[in-house]
Symmetry: D3
Subunit: 254 residues, 6 copies
Amino acid sequence: MSQSRLSELTWHEVRRAGEDAVALLPIGSQEQHAAHLPMGTDTLLVEEVVDRALRILAQEASGPDVVRLPVLPYGHSPHHLFAAAVSLSAATLGAVLEEVLDSLVTSGYRRVMVVNGHGGNDEIMRLAVKRFALRSEVTVAACSYWNLTTGDDDAGRPDVTPGHAGWFETSLMLAAHPGLVRTPVPARTTVEPPPLFDRPPYPGLTVERHGEWARVGGATDDPSGADGVPGEQLLQDRARGLAHAIAAFDAATR
Amino acid sequence: MSQSRLSELTWHEVRRAGEDAVALLPIGSQEQHAAHLPMGTDTLLVEEVVDRALRILAQEASGPDVVRLPVLPYGHSPHHLFAAAVSLSAATLGAVLEEVLDSLVTSGYRRVMVVNGHGGNDEIMRLAVKRFALRSEVTVAACSYWNLTTGDDDAGRPDVTPGHAGWFETSLMLAAHPGLVRTPVPARTTVEPPPLFDRPPYPGLTVERHGEWARVGGATDDPSGADGVPGEQLLQDRARGLAHAIAAFDAATR
Amino acid sequence: MSQSRLSELTWHEVRRAGEDAVALLPIGSQEQHAAHLPMGTDTLLVEEVVDRALRILAQEASGPDVVRLPVLPYGHSPHHLFAAAVSLSAATLGAVLEEVLDSLVTSGYRRVMVVNGHGGNDEIMRLAVKRFALRSEVTVAACSYWNLTTGDDDAGRPDVTPGHAGWFETSLMLAAHPGLVRTPVPARTTVEPPPLFDRPPYPGLTVERHGEWARVGGATDDPSGADGVPGEQLLQDRARGLAHAIAAFDAATR
Amino acid sequence: MSQSRLSELTWHEVRRAGEDAVALLPIGSQEQHAAHLPMGTDTLLVEEVVDRALRILAQEASGPDVVRLPVLPYGHSPHHLFAAAVSLSAATLGAVLEEVLDSLVTSGYRRVMVVNGHGGNDEIMRLAVKRFALRSEVTVAACSYWNLTTGDDDAGRPDVTPGHAGWFETSLMLAAHPGLVRTPVPARTTVEPPPLFDRPPYPGLTVERHGEWARVGGATDDPSGADGVPGEQLLQDRARGLAHAIAAFDAATR
Amino acid sequence: MSQSRLSELTWHEVRRAGEDAVALLPIGSQEQHAAHLPMGTDTLLVEEVVDRALRILAQEASGPDVVRLPVLPYGHSPHHLFAAAVSLSAATLGAVLEEVLDSLVTSGYRRVMVVNGHGGNDEIMRLAVKRFALRSEVTVAACSYWNLTTGDDDAGRPDVTPGHAGWFETSLMLAAHPGLVRTPVPARTTVEPPPLFDRPPYPGLTVERHGEWARVGGATDDPSGADGVPGEQLLQDRARGLAHAIAAFDAATR
Amino acid sequence: MSQSRLSELTWHEVRRAGEDAVALLPIGSQEQHAAHLPMGTDTLLVEEVVDRALRILAQEASGPDVVRLPVLPYGHSPHHLFAAAVSLSAATLGAVLEEVLDSLVTSGYRRVMVVNGHGGNDEIMRLAVKRFALRSEVTVAACSYWNLTTGDDDAGRPDVTPGHAGWFETSLMLAAHPGLVRTPVPARTTVEPPPLFDRPPYPGLTVERHGEWARVGGATDDPSGADGVPGEQLLQDRARGLAHAIAAFDAATR
């Protein structure tokens, strides 16, 4: 079992690793996260989860070979441009993902995993990996880090996970990058009605209303009770979940 | 409360209706559905659910105004081209949806609902409605019909809903279009391992493997036990679910 | 000789039919047709002509095998957006046609016919079939239904055929869908000068002036004298023309 | 009345002329024209017709102001790539036309005429001028030179006009550029069946068959009887036709 | 050694020449060149340099075979649209170049040279030839005519070469097309600060400021001292430089 | 004077900084760098130069405000895919740059600088900043780090600067990241003829030959004499050059 960063390998090493390794691509965003979290929150958290997961796997004798690609720090955040974001369009982010994936095949990789830190990237990532597996003889996995759990975490609050700039993300940032959280975390004034995209009028509906993010102030739930202690638990639970997921993906596709 | 078909209205009527009505766009697919179901299964079922939902709403005095657009009979089915499909690419289907939605705004509509009958359209539909609500002053909803339920249906089997050409779709077709189901429905030979896209190695992972649909024979679960009696219940439950969803969307956005 | 609808076939049947059958794709539009005809006029008429033509062919022992695709109900109508239309851009409609045609080749079809009901689709349809025949080993035909005649129809008025929402289309709709024609059909006030796109200043010129459709009120000639009796003759003549054309195409390309 | 070439004007002159003048854009092709005509035939002929038409108009005291743009020497000829062509795709040629037209509006032009020398450009030119007139407050005309006649030409043979590299084009080249015609013009062996694209199996059908241009040897009719005397008459008739068309367009849109 | 124009060759000749010849594509622009030079300046000058270079090579017994393509008279000039230009977008010009180059490969050419007359085309031309050499087995050269010198020209002023509508271009036009230069050439009022794109604040920086071309009046340096005598020397030096470059390219790639 | 990282700022801080600060975007690549340098060499070096330049500026009381964006770790490297690269197409990289730049304008930035570490990005970066300054009221600078010098560096060898994976880059990596250089650095076998893209047959020509990078083994000059001592000098010289350039850009555009 080996772990390495693609940016630090020579091309011969990249090629050799491609025969067995899972290539792992983290993707994030740069976008507003209310008044207390930094623009890079999604990128910082996905990198933190990946770091921890790889550290967990490194302790196992028979863990999978992993080549980690540089994080893509820019994502699809047009809904946050009203309040500062650096956003790629869906078409451009889709093209970036497809071209990165195609490059990996050209270098001999047959197994790739994309680990996402930003909700707005989700559909684009799914479309990209589906197209990829149709045109190349590969197996590819995609996930958003908050969905990977071990199932035995007690600290969570599913009703506000992951949300945006609320209790969940703030707690994780207090655990991972406390210095980047502006404290005390301000309470979010209750907004009525709650955001339609977060509380659709009927289960199973996706609803989008023009101007809704601005109307609710850019966050989905109150972060003021966030706490680094459950944050640490939640983070570690995702890291273990990701470690298990990588190992399971490796086992299923070896 | 009024219901009409856009194709039967004059343009003055289309404009006038646009002030209050919800425009409803059904979208489907033409793709292989194993050896016993027709290519148009997804389109036929979404139209059936919409027909029934509108009939339910028509009985209510204060139901929402709805203008129904012609169903888009072609969807995104590249994964079924190996065994016959008429498929639009993701970019093209996305463009079709965006241009239909934009046309509606130009004609004065401010509330639109897209009702989908094919899993492969899901991400594209979501991206389209998100972009739409960012560039126009509208509220837009999207759903796949099988996700809309009343919650009190006893007939269902969540483990194989909706699946593809399996127990669920076959049962619904036996209820809605029995003449188009080739009987006796052949049993599906068990495939090992089960399709990765349907049974990911770890919860939360989306996994796509090249050639997987062909390997598992184009269906996800055994349709041979399908039955029109639960099919009718399931179909009617989705119709009631959609009727409730339309009414709730109307109420939330009036 | 066999006729079927692609949406009702299983994929095995679609494949088998592809060896010999002509795939037939009707395309229409949703656009303003003055104050007395419905938005779906072009789609309704092309479907009516196709229905009748296939019925005529069905009576012949040795007629061609035909697999009919679902009509594409949306066309290219940007010039009617000023007064309500659901319009695809030229690029998008072109992509839809190309991808539908490409799908048919993938499923084994080698002979395709596109039957059009809307003038604004004409150039896009021609470009699509030309490109198709360059990249695939197929023979493909394209036509607009009003151009297919038997040559012995006495009822016609070539000066206003097909026009838009005028005498010709109104007469056909009175024959095919009288319930959808708002009567009495209002007379069109004479507009001076007549629309440049319809009456170019020199023969052989195509002329387009900004705002011309709005200036002339959305129709090209006076529909008030329209009559279902000649309408029936004209419609039946096109149906016979299309039946002959399908048979001739089949014979020339078998 | 004034005539000038855009490439020879200063920008102030271009702007000033734009208030009243018709901008005239010739477009051609570079493609195989059998063994006796040069690749630039379409471009050379459209330029010859434009030259002559402007000379005719120059003799009239009250002729229209015309600013002539450089000919676009490359057209859409994918069907001739099998035997040498320099071809733009439909999308690219469409973009070139749209951007040239848009530039003219930016410089103040409100009346534009596109004069085409190559059949393969026809649909693309039509789409481009339609889109142009929808997005800008302009009036725009498009034509192919062979369609503009005075109606009193005795020399023509409509059955082979314009054809490709046959009697018509060869006769015109013998009149306009005799030194570029390889003589004696070889007779074209009769090909059976005749090309489907030129002799559709039923009137009103457009038919394209893969490989048809190669099968029939790249020309549509026998050029061996071509003659510069009728060629001169035909050419002059088109020049007069174009002169009349320019004047009529000017009068209708002044 | 042979020289010919592609537009005057038959397709058999084009094919035959492709085995040995260098295909030469000149590209220019139509854009404002201050109040004294014509819109076509860049196109006229690149054609003049090519004409002269080919004449020089024609006198050599063993010069390279060259097939000259029609000049592309339209370039990428969005920065001059404020004062009249006919401009293609970067994407469109790139597509035109790629499709022209691809056509040449299809016709058997393996060596191509693009000769540019307009600074704004530079990056697009470079990208196009790089892509071309990656996807086809060709060798391709690109240059802007002003960069090709013999090294022994005394007449030049490197500080204002090529500039835009200044001393260099005006001098060349006075030599090549004196009748198209409006004289006396007006002096350019000194603009302070000088244009940022021409005088970046630090060496090695490319700097673009919105509105800068309009602020400095559309020219980069004072043309009033331009003179046809050094103009002739400079022009002939570039012609000799291009002749040498063609010969050297031929020798290196034969 | 302030310096910050966009990813660590809240959105309010990003907005506030936008009024005065220069936004600085580093871009790199992941591509083969022979057998002794890592894939991320270009990214690592541009980040090193930016780090050092900002440290130099930080020591000045009146230095410019700078907001540094996350490096884009992927560039345009199709010519290195033969031997491992993760490459974006020119169209995609162009879109990424344009959308990042557009996002910055939306957030209030009016001054942006792009600092490049990879030769293959050059034309795309230039086109992107030109387009940006045409459509937005901004001033934007672009540079490649190796071109920014103080002019008083004695350590350089202009003949091999920057080259690819040769003396220059290896020396800089020995200074900045010695642990990532595989030593002893192998000598590069002399290749005859030298790569055409690096040694064009005539000055002023850009020449690209298919397969040239593979033929010469992926590097442009012999790295075996590389040395961290001149590497440190060269690196520091570029850092000082960039610091001066940022200050000069700030002064010229304040």
